[in-house]
């Protein structure tokens, strides 16, 4: 197994239970039926004003407010980060250490799903957040030399996220020994410099790509920490309407969506055939162009829908695009689940083996070093149904959020008409997603 395989999650799809056209038809029908049902049964905004309800169990309250526990979790995150970084510098095979599995599977895929289920656990685990706290890069102990410019918004996070997905999907670097380690150190240096320049909280909120990205996915979860730091419960998806509109937010979401789509596209036999005879340099150029092109295509479809919607309400399209951007987040999660479900369950098992020997030194710390990957843990048919369910539910989630936002902003009749174009975009995303998934 190569790093290339670790860095790309999609398995081939050769034996669909029924013709794929039927799945596409069924998925699109489910989307349109949901749209009509919302129009009839959801006349008032329900998610926009929902606030989390604290869970009042005393034991949970004491656990959640425990500073000691908080620092134990932070220390654990920092240790895992340190071991992963050390492992990423070892000049051995990609599956000989835990680093590639930790970064490309457990962190990038597993944590994304964990965030959507359990809320923003990354906020408690982030080694960069912990470093910022240990270095005391917060007022009043520390006075940042600069105030973070509001005009910059989430752009640093969007650019850095693009850097990560380019590293993973388009560059040859994951194949190079130590490249992952250098990338981790470089990203850490950028993050510490950002925190030193603008303060820990300001940089983590705007510039730390994974914090912003995972934070968005965490808003899907029914679990959240309230203003007092206590665990609270809310309806699924209801955290997303409270995402603050900021420059660069839409770009970050489109990068996340487009990169996962490109990962799927780059595994189709069409792409593999087209790039098979290219030199390494040309392959990187083609992959970079493909990645950028897919991101721009996603942006163009969404923007096109918003231009039409803006025409309906005689408004500018860009503010509208930003105000509906949160409706794309469930689709980001859907694509992560659909593209990487079997990858997480099968290739993710390598991590269980490597956890006993994270540096590839022949250790067997937890007795799992002899574990082998169970390739039959999930069947191809089960994977396909999970993929279809994820794509359909993700897009229905998007339609629900967009509908809720539309009726909060506009009168009902106009709200519905703004949503036709977005529904069309969702239909296109759904069908394209399924066609790509079935074409590997």
């Amino acid at each position: 197994m190569t790093v290339g395989l670790l860095a790309h999650g999609l398995g081939g799809r050769v034996d669909l239970p029924v013709p794929r056209g039927l799945f596409v038809f069924g998925a699109v029908t489910a989307l349109i039926v949901s749209f009509v049902a919302l129009a009839v049964l959801w006349p008032e905004p329900r998610l926009e004003k929902r606030r989390p309800r604290p869970i009042r169990a005393a034991w949970l309250r004491s656990v959640m407010s425990s500073a000691v526990l908080g620092w134990v979790v932070r220390a654990a995150g920092l240790v895992v980060f340190g071991v992963t970084t050390l492992a990423a510098f070892r000049p051995v095979g990609p599956t000989d250490t835990i680093a590639p599995v930790m970064v490309f599977i457990w962190f990038w895929v597993g944590l994304a799903i964990l965030q959507a289920v359990f809320g923003n656990v990354w906020a408690a685990l982030s080694p960069w957040d912990t470093l910022g706290r240990l270095l005391q890069l917060d007022p009043p102990a520390y006075r940042p030399p600069r105030t973070y410019p509001k005009a910059l918004g989430r752009w640093p996070a969007a650019v850095l996220l693009f850097g990560f997905v380019w590293f993973e999907l388009a560059s040859p670097l994951p194949e190079e020994p130590r490249a992952l380690g250098i990338a981790i150190v470089a990203y850490t240096a950028i993050t510490v410099a950002g925190m030193a320049a603008f303060g820990r909280a300001a940089w983590l909120e705007n510039g730390e790509a994974f914090g912003v990205y995972f934070g968005l996915l965490g808003r899907i979860s029914p679990l959240v920490r309230d203003d007092e730091g206590l665990l609270a419960i809310r309806p699924v998806l209801s955290g997303l309407p409270h995402v603050e509109p900021r420059p660069g937010l839409l770009a970050l979401i489109v990068v996340a969506l487009g990169s996962t789509t490109f990962d799927g596209l780059s595994r189709t036999t069409w792409w593999l055939d087209a790039t098979a005879s290219l030199t390494q340099g040309a392959t990187v150029a083609a992959a970079t162009a493909g990645l950028l092109g897919t991101i721009l295509a996603v942006a163009a479809v969404y923007s096109g829908a918003m231009v039409v919607a803006a025409g309906v309400v005689e408004a500018s399209w860009h503010p509208l695009a930003v105000r509906f951007a949160h409706s794309l987040v469930p689709i980001v999660l859907a694509y992560v689940v659909a593209h990487y479900f079997s990858f997480l369950l099968i290739e993710g098992q390598i991590g269980l083996n490597r956890i006993s020997d994270p540096l590839g030194l022949g250790w067997n710390l937890f007795g799992t070093a002899g574990w082998r990957v169970n390739l039959t843990i999930v069947s191809a048919t089960t994977t396909w149904y999970v993929q279809v369910a994820a794509i359909v539910l993700g897009h229905i989630g998007g339609v629900v959020l967009a509908h809720d936002r539309a009726i909060a902003l506009f009168d009902r009749s106009r709200a519905m008409r703004t949503q036709y174009a977005l529904l069309a975009a969702m239909v296109l995303f759904t069908a394209t997603g399924l066609l790509i998934l079935s074409g590997g």
């Binding site: 050769v14 056209g21 069409w270 506009f410 590997g440």
Partner: protein, 74 residues
């Protein structure tokens, strides 16, 4: 030509794109004129609804460029 493996081919996508394009066109043509009941007033940020200062270049609330307001000087 098959755009994707294991399947009927590019016609799936062409039909889909044509259908979606027609849908977008029709919904665009149906736009109606009239004041927008939910649109933010020109003295509020269209991105976050924060009040805008008369001479603001950017919104203090969200950092987006403030729309040009004909009522504002300059």
């Amino acid at each position: 030509m098959s755009v994707l493996a294991h399947g009927s081919g590019i016609d799936d996508l062409i039909v889909l794109v044509a259908a979606v394009g027609t849908f977008l066109l029709v919904s665009g043509l149906r736009r109606r004129r009239g004041a927008d009941a939910g649109a933010p007033a020109s003295d509020r940020c269209p991105y976050c609804d924060s009040p805008l200062e008369p001479d603001a270049v950017r919104c203090d609330g969200c950092g987006f460029l403030a729309p040009r307001n004909p009522a504002r000087p300059g």
